[in-house]
Symmetry: C2
Subunit: 318 residues, 2 copies
């Protein structure tokens, strides 16, 4: 989702060579990936971030690396040992490969999960600590794994002078939306139900808030971070606005042409929900100052684009 | 340091069998360990927490496990990949072994580093988040690895019903003091210098505070945590008092019979210092409520005991 979009932007910007390194564990190459790879400047290496020699081979002669591989909360819940291995040893392997191959800059995909959940609220800036009291283990482990990834970046900068920026994406949504992001499910699952004539389901009273950022804006932040002289910093890449899940579901219904109302249910006791105690948003003013980024696509436009993409995919496979 | 002390207390308390599992990477078995192992109820397994099959073999038929193995900040600075592996994959392996072997309870050695450093101050209770902004990478990585260890415990309890308590020890000092705990160096290095007629060295003005807890009190907390019906909780095991490093150095001088004053130096720019922005202590009232523990040995008595031990070891090796 973020990787192919970033690669496409790099090609547009005139990159001489783009190497995609992926274990293809989630999907076989689809139309988007095949289209990308038809470009002579693109090569795809099937490899794993846990495979240090393969990673170093792929980083040979590379100017900049975007480290986007990682497990999210739901994946960690299913396989905690592998998830932590990929997020922590994987990050360390990428850093080591960057160091060994003299890569000029690393953009590390961190997450607003680095602030944790639960006792957060209001405007959250980059100095906010990591909250995990009372939070279910999988999202707490995901967030803590991102804290460790960032600190490993810092260690490699302190030890080896490796330049990096850690981008703390909030919940990313848009074209190529997958089902692995617990918070993005509020959009894609709502749309899937509306498309079948069903009401989107909300747990509780729908007043819980999220902060969404459009995938195209995220890809653009990756390029700006890579081109920037800033280094050694963590930066929020976010919509910067709190949005209730109720407002979100209503927006999805409207843009998808539905007429139903969301359906409210009690919060399930099984599984995990990622909630916070108060409305919040991730302050993205540092992104403006440090790398000249701000979000350009608002939630209406972003959801409209996601729906257009979703319809085109459904039409192709129908 | 904590392991042999805990084992000795277990034997005193009438434990039928005590298995010591250690890779002996730091020291060959010394007199204390040899004495322990002469007890027919004690067996020593040389093994590593990264060796899952060996760990499971050692946990066979065991009622309770104390998970004490781990790298601290200084060790992580030297070998970050191995340090994180031991603290994170190691913790996961111990949990898996406890699950597979139906161990009744796990006492997990966490740390007050789980609150991080920097922007902390005052009375710190168990709900305090993890602070890492502006903190050097090694102690931030150490603290985050303990956060992950605790969350893995929580995950195993959620998934498999494994009972555990995570004990967040503050800076542990006392007999068998080693040089791996950055904060405990304020005691042992001060003593080493006084014993040679030199002034203990303090960086800055000596007003930085620490919270120390005596090793015998820590071992006792381990037994109380194991015997308690409490489960799924993190508990501060601390002195519960802020102590300036200046007062500490003066106490060491006085108890060691010295007459010098501490020597003040500028904070070095190389290496890392673990400091906080304000005087602080870790509130240990939950330990009283949940497992009936409070510290019994104050800093004067504890340092006196450490000095007695240190002199006896020096006399033996002289």
């Amino acid at each position: 989702m973020i990787g192919t979009r970033t690669a496409a932007l790099l090609l547009e910007a005139g990159a001489k060579e783009v190497v995609l390194y992926d274990n293809l564990s989630f999907d076989a190459p689809d139309a988007t990936l095949r289209d990308l790879c038809e470009n002579q400047r693109v090569s795809l290496h099937q490899g794993d971030v846990l495979d240090q020699p393969a990673l170093e081979a792929a980083c040979e002669g590379i100017d900049g690396v975007f480290a986007l591989a990682g497990f999210m909360s739901a994946g960690i819940a299913k396989n905690p040992a592998l998830g932590l291995d990929v997020n922590i040893r994987g990050a360390q392997h990428v850093l080591q490969a960057c160091h060994v191959c003299n890569v000029g800059k690393l953009v590390f995909a961190s997450s607003s999960a680095a602030y944790g959940y639960g006792a957060i609220g209001g405007s959250i800036s980059e100095s906010e600590p990591f909250h995990s009291a009372g939070v279910p283990a999988p999202p707490a482990l995901y967030g803590a794994s991102k804290v460790i990834g960032e600190q490993l970046c810092k260690l490699y900068r302190e030890m080896h002078g490796l330049d990096y920026l850690a981008l703390r994406y909030s919940t990313v949504y848009g074209e190529r939306q997958h089902y692995r992001s617990t918070n993005a499910l509020y959009i894609i699952e709502a749309y899937d139900r509306v498309a079948r004539g069903l009401s989107p389901i909300l747990f509780g009273d729908g007043s819980d808030t999220k902060d969404f950022v459009y995938v195209g804006d995220v890809a653009r932040s990756n390029l700006l971070a890579m081109a920037s002289t800033a280094s050694g910093e963590a930066i929020n890449i976010s919509g910067g606005k709190p949005l209730t899940v109720k407002a979100l579901a209503e927006t999805v219904i409207r843009l998808a042409g539905g007429t139903m109302q969301p359906e409210y249910r009690d919060t399930p006791t099984s599984g995990f929900r990622i909630t916070t105690d108060a409305p919040f948003f991730y302050d993205n003013s540092r992104a403006r100052t440090l790398i000249g980024w701000e979000p350009e696509v608002d939630i209406e436009e972003g959801i409209a684009r996601m729906i257009t993409w979703r319809k085109s995919v459904t039409a192709q496979t129908a």
